[in-house]
């Protein structure tokens, strides 16, 4: 395991030094934003790699990742309305923070293989990964209450859009307050739709889905991944 520690350190060192070296962001804004996201994602991915998972846990994560990605399909016609965020929250609620992060980040990566890979992919990985991570961290006392769960879904609807706006903003030529406000105002309705659909899904379906996943966890004796 020494080897992977060294690798992790090396990768982080390279990323940070590249960031320091190219201080003016306008040299290549898209590249900088990719690096920045890499800094956030890579440590968590390597942490996952170091865990020796059993076959059941691994397959379960793969299934839920694919499922979160596919759940966009029936709702394809409506922009910003997709149950992916809901699926990630529910899965993290049952299987924990680290599983939540992996399912979220993986769902972004996998669904974009079919929906178009681009500079937005890493940002989506971070956003959805954080949805899962936070849902897993807050699950114990807080998310047990239905109202807090709904509020959580509502907040993440906006937060998701705000994180995604960051890369649009970074790739613009002028980073001023007006352009910042313009980007965030333009996305308001999409974020609102996302937030409301999260609340809607959580209010109506969370209970059943949590029961189903809980049952699977029990039936197959799946240990907490993290």
């Amino acid at each position: 395991m020494k080897y992977s520690n060294a690798l992790l350190g090396l990768i982080l060192l390279i990323l940070i030094s590249v960031l320091v070296w190219m201080d003016p962001i306008d040299q290549s804004p898209l590249f900088i934003s990719l690096l920045f996201v890499g800094l956030m994602v890579i440590p968590l991915l390597l942490r996952f790699e170091r865990k020796q998972l059993g076959s059941k846990e691994l397959v379960l994560l793969a299934l839920l990742t694919a499922f979160a990605a596919v759940s966009r399909v029936p709702f394809a016609g409506i922009p910003s309305v997709q149950p992916t965020t809901f699926v990630i929250i529910v899965a993290a609620f049952i299987f924990g923070a680290e599983s939540g992060f992996i399912i979220g980040a993986g769902a972004a990566l996998v669904s974009n293989i079919f929906l178009g890979q681009g500079p937005w992919t890493p940002w989506q990985m971070v956003s959805w990964g954080l949805v899962g991570l936070s849902a897993g961290l807050l699950r114990q006392p807080l998310l047990k209450w239905k109202w807090i769960r709904l509020l959580f879904g509502f907040i993440w609807g906006f937060l998701f859009g705000w994180i995604m706006n960051a890369w649009v903003f970074l790739s613009m030529e002028e980073q001023t307050l007006t352009s910042f406000l313009a980007v965030y105002a333009a996305s308001f309705y999409f974020d609102l739709a996302h937030a409301l659909s999260n609340v809607f899904f959580l209010a109506l379906f969370a209970k059943t889905w949590i029961r189903i996943l809980e049952r699977f966890k029990q039936k197959y004796g799946i240990s907490n991944v993290a």
Partner: protein
């Protein structure tokens, strides 16, 4: 047996794509972007006649319009005035910047479309199963599950249509039906998948520390030469980029777009690097 670019060692193919994405993100000059767009379209045409890429036309159009639009409306900087609406100035600089950004995003998308056609799952697995075995297996499984789940979704939908004959009226019932479809899909897939996992375990998953890949790829002399060739071109482009070549300074004063002699050389290297699959493919046919 495939030949040409796809028959090269997976590592060379992977290096080509990683280098290409860096170059596409770095080079920010209209001439470079236009050249790259032609080459990337050609690379896509080479493999499936550009059919996959054509599927993205709507999304590319919307993203491009969004980028150009936002830039024009938020930025008034620049000295080359194109149009004046009220007291809002539409400048050449802002328009150009938006178009270049839209072009770069198109390039990244096109590169990934071609990547997905060229690098097979076997090759991906061969490359990553040694460094990050769990991630490699996880992503291989997840990617494989997606088409399976889509098929199942259609099957469930057919059954649902039989149950209520015809379409549902209210939107609430529609959403409920869709969520029911997903719920059925989830229980179905989890049940099957977890049983497969148990049988995986029974057949010895996790007992061996390191496993070899299913397909064997030979590292040939030609692969080494290709690797060196790509590295030299990449270094040339990065050297140029560090010296400010292949980047158009727009602000504060737009520099002359004409290419200097050195810039032509870097452009040549860039063109040669990106069109690597094309001449490897042509060379294999000849």
């Amino acid at each position: 047996m495939s030949s040409g670019f796809r028959a090269l060692h997976p590592f060379v193919i992977f290096i080509y794509y990683s280098g290409a994405i860096l170059l596409l993100l770095f080079m920010f000059h209209p001439a470079f972007i236009v050249v790259a767009m032609i080459v990337m379209c050609a690379v896509n045409v080479l493999y499936d006649g550009g059919r996959q890429l054509w599927r993205w036309k709507k999304m590319i159009l919307i993203t491009s319009l969004l980028f150009v639009g936002i830039n024009i409306f938020t930025s008034q900087r620049g000295s080359h005035l194109l149009w004046q609406v009220g007291d809002h100035r539409i400048t050449l600089e802002a328009t150009l910047y938006g178009m270049m950004m839209a072009g770069t995003i198109f390039l990244v998308l096109a590169l990934f479309v071609s990547y997905q056609q060229v690098l097979t799952m076997d090759q991906f697995f061969y490359l990553f199963a040694r460094i990050t075995p769990q991630w490699a297996l996880l992503s291989a499984l997840a990617i494989r599950f997606v088409p399976l789940m889509k098929l199942r979704l259609e099957e469930i939908q057919k059954v649902q249509h039989l149950q209520h004959r015809g379409s549902l009226k209210s939107w609430k019932l529609k959403i409920k039906e869709k969520m029911k479809r997903l719920e059925v899909l989830m229980t179905w897939s989890l049940e099957g998948g977890l049983q497969t996992a148990e049988s995986m375990k029974a057949r010895g998953y996790g007992t061996v520390k390191r496993r070899t890949a299913y397909t064997l790829y030979r590292w040939r002399i030609s692969d080494f030469l290709y690797f060196v060739f790509l590295s030299v071109l990449f270094t040339l482009c990065i050297w140029g980029w560090i010296h400010g070549l292949g980047r158009l300074e727009i602000y504060p004063v737009m520099e002359n777009g004409a290419l200097s002699m050195y810039e032509w050389i870097v452009l040549g290297g860039y063109l040669t690097y990106l069109s690597f699959p094309i001449y490897v493919e042509i060379g294999a046919d000849a």
